[in-house]
């Protein structure tokens, strides 16, 4: 019998609130399936289980806050002879709930799971729903999109305590309009169906609390970083003219959804360079550097309501540009919709901050412990630049590296930035 425990979703997390169970006793689960939703100070996070087997017992009620490591459920490791599936809550057959399979499917077909109406148990999205979403001409637009809500609908939802995530928008392109909110019943007024509706505060309260909690979390983590990590900093200005021209040519013939933004190219280069300089890719734990086996690139994403989350793009160094671009879109939209998975929050091995998009020349970052390096890209700007003895106007970017001096010295950091610059000289090989 294995225990499914409250996971640690990052160095800063000490406790979490179980929001929702996505499985019931008797359900068969596989390693990697999303089985629960946990609320941290940053967001509601979907948590995967780490063993395969049958759910024997749920030990913690939704709405309960428990310390990291607390057993949440018991999972029997052997498969039952006859699986005892829970009775489906709707007339539809029980289907895998938000399983990685469904997500992969949705991602491959450019379906935003936030806009799909789930018909599985407890309103979960099934593969069939994803297929229907692809066929249905109406709501889901091509390309991953964040959940769209009109400001009036948002205000209305706040005032009436309606959970926007429970509403399917009937406006153009699936946007949630005020009318859709008016047609919905407040979550509080409805008797909670078993397990599907966690007893948690309304979205608005939650959002306000979360904003404060996120500030506190960032404060604690960054203070710890500055207290414990002896940072050293290196910067390098790179001529991007040729790389951007190459990208521009490549995008020229492509429809808008297939175009790749320069940020994707820069992220790819950062990931590849981390593979080539593995001394910067990993963790400082117990007074020693622990190299990571893969490059899980943390991408700092600012949230619209304020705050910052840096989830990981797993094995970013192995993705081709198109794949990376798709994953980036997906990651950003899910981060802002609060649909991140546990593995994405806990696994970055090196992080990139791309504040350059906000128009600043350079960013000298603060490392996320226990990582040992943070790469920062400034804005791409035109500058007078000397090339082979001639002065020209080139498009350049200033890239910085903040690294943990306990783990590496400046020479290693310099090698990283040189590698990065070299990779960007040959964008077609990225």
């Amino acid at each position: 019998m294995a225990e499914f425990r409250m996971p640690s979703l990052g160095a800063d997390m000490t406790e979490g609130t179980l929001l929702e169970w996505l499985v019931q006793p008797g359900a068969t689960v596989h390693k990697g399936d999303v089985v629960a939703v946990v609320d941290t100070s940053k967001a509601a996070i979907e948590v995967e289980c780490f063993t395969s087997g049958t759910v024997r017992r749920l030990l913690v009620e939704p709405g309960t806050q428990v310390p990291v490591g607390t057993p949440l459920a018991l999972i029997g490791e052997e498969e039952p002879v006859a699986p005892i599936a829970p009775p489906p809550l709707t007339g539809h057959p029980a289907a895998p709930v938000l399983s990685p399979l469904v997500r992969r499917d949705a991602s491959a077909r450019h379906v935003d799971l936030g806009t799909v109406h789930g018909t599985g148990p407890g309103g979960r999205v099934t593969r069939l729903d994803v297929e229907h979403a692809v066929e249905a001409p109406a709501p889901p637009p091509a390309g991953p999109a964040r959940r769209r809500v009109s400001p009036r609908a948002r205000r209305l939802a706040r005032e009436t305590g309606i959970d926007l995530s429970a509403i399917s928008g009937k406006g153009p392109a699936g946007i949630i309009r005020a009318a859709d909110v008016e047609g919905a019943e407040p979550a509080v007024a409805r008797p909670a169906p078993p397990a599907a509706e966690p007893a948690v505060p309304t979205t608005a309260e939650q959002a306000a609390r979360r904003a404060a909690a996120m500030r506190a979390t960032i404060a604690a983590l960054m203070a710890r970083s500055k207290r414990e990590i002896p940072h050293y900093y290196l910067t390098e200005t790179i001529d991007l003219t040729d790389a951007l021209a190459w990208l521009h040519d490549r995008n020229q013939d492509l429809p808008v959804p297939r175009r790749v933004v320069p940020a994707a190219l820069l992220l790819k280069a950062a990931a590849r360079a981390a593979r080539e300089v593995p001394e910067l890719n990993g963790f400082w734990i117990d007074e020693a550097f622990l190299p990571a086996p893969t490059v899980n690139l943390g991408v700092a994403i600012s949230l619209r309501g304020g705050g910052l989350v840096a989830p990981a793009m797993a094995e970013a160094d192995t993705l081709n540009l198109d794949e990376l671009m798709d994953r980036l879109k997906d990651l950003v939209s899910r981060t802002r919709a609060g649909r991140l998975r546990a593995s994405e929050l806990s696994s970055p091995t090196i992080t990139v901050s791309n504040l350059g998009e906000q128009g600043v020349e350079s960013i000298i970052g603060v490392i996320y412990p226990p990582q040992v390096a943070l790469v920062g890209y400034g804005t791409v700007t035109e500058r007078p630049w000397a090339v082979r003895g001639l002065l020209g106007i080139r498009r350049t970017v200033t890239v910085s590296l903040a690294a943990d001096h306990r783990a590496t010295d400046g020479a290693t950091g310099a090698r990283y930035l040189r590698t990065l610059a070299r990779l960007l000289e040959r964008p077609e090989e990225l």
Binding site: G143, R148, P151, I175, N251, P257, A263, E357, Q358
Partner: protein, 81 residues
């Protein structure tokens, strides 16, 4: 004006939290609404879809403001781009 309505609707979808009521027609959209490059790409994608007009990367600078975008799309509609 129909084009302007389309632009506003589209912006509302791309940046639902943004306050468009106080946005000057000549204000830089990326700056005023804090759009990142992915948001902007989505804006272009939706505009292109809705206007039926091909929008190349070279046209992006003309979409920097609401009034610029309206002019660009109207000109395209009259075949004078």
């Amino acid at each position: 004006m129909e084009t302007m309505t389309m632009i506003r609707t589209t912006l509302r979808e791309v940046a639902p939290e943004a306050d468009l009521d106080h946005l000057e027609p000549g204000a830089d959209l990326r700056e005023a609404l804090e759009l990142d490059s992915l948001d902007f790409l989505r804006f272009v994608e939706l505009l292109s879809e809705r206007s039926g007009r091909r929008i190349d990367e070279d046209d992006y600078p003309r979409l920097a403001t609401m009034s610029g975008a309206a002019m660009f799309l109207d000109a395209a509609a009259h075949g004078t781009s």
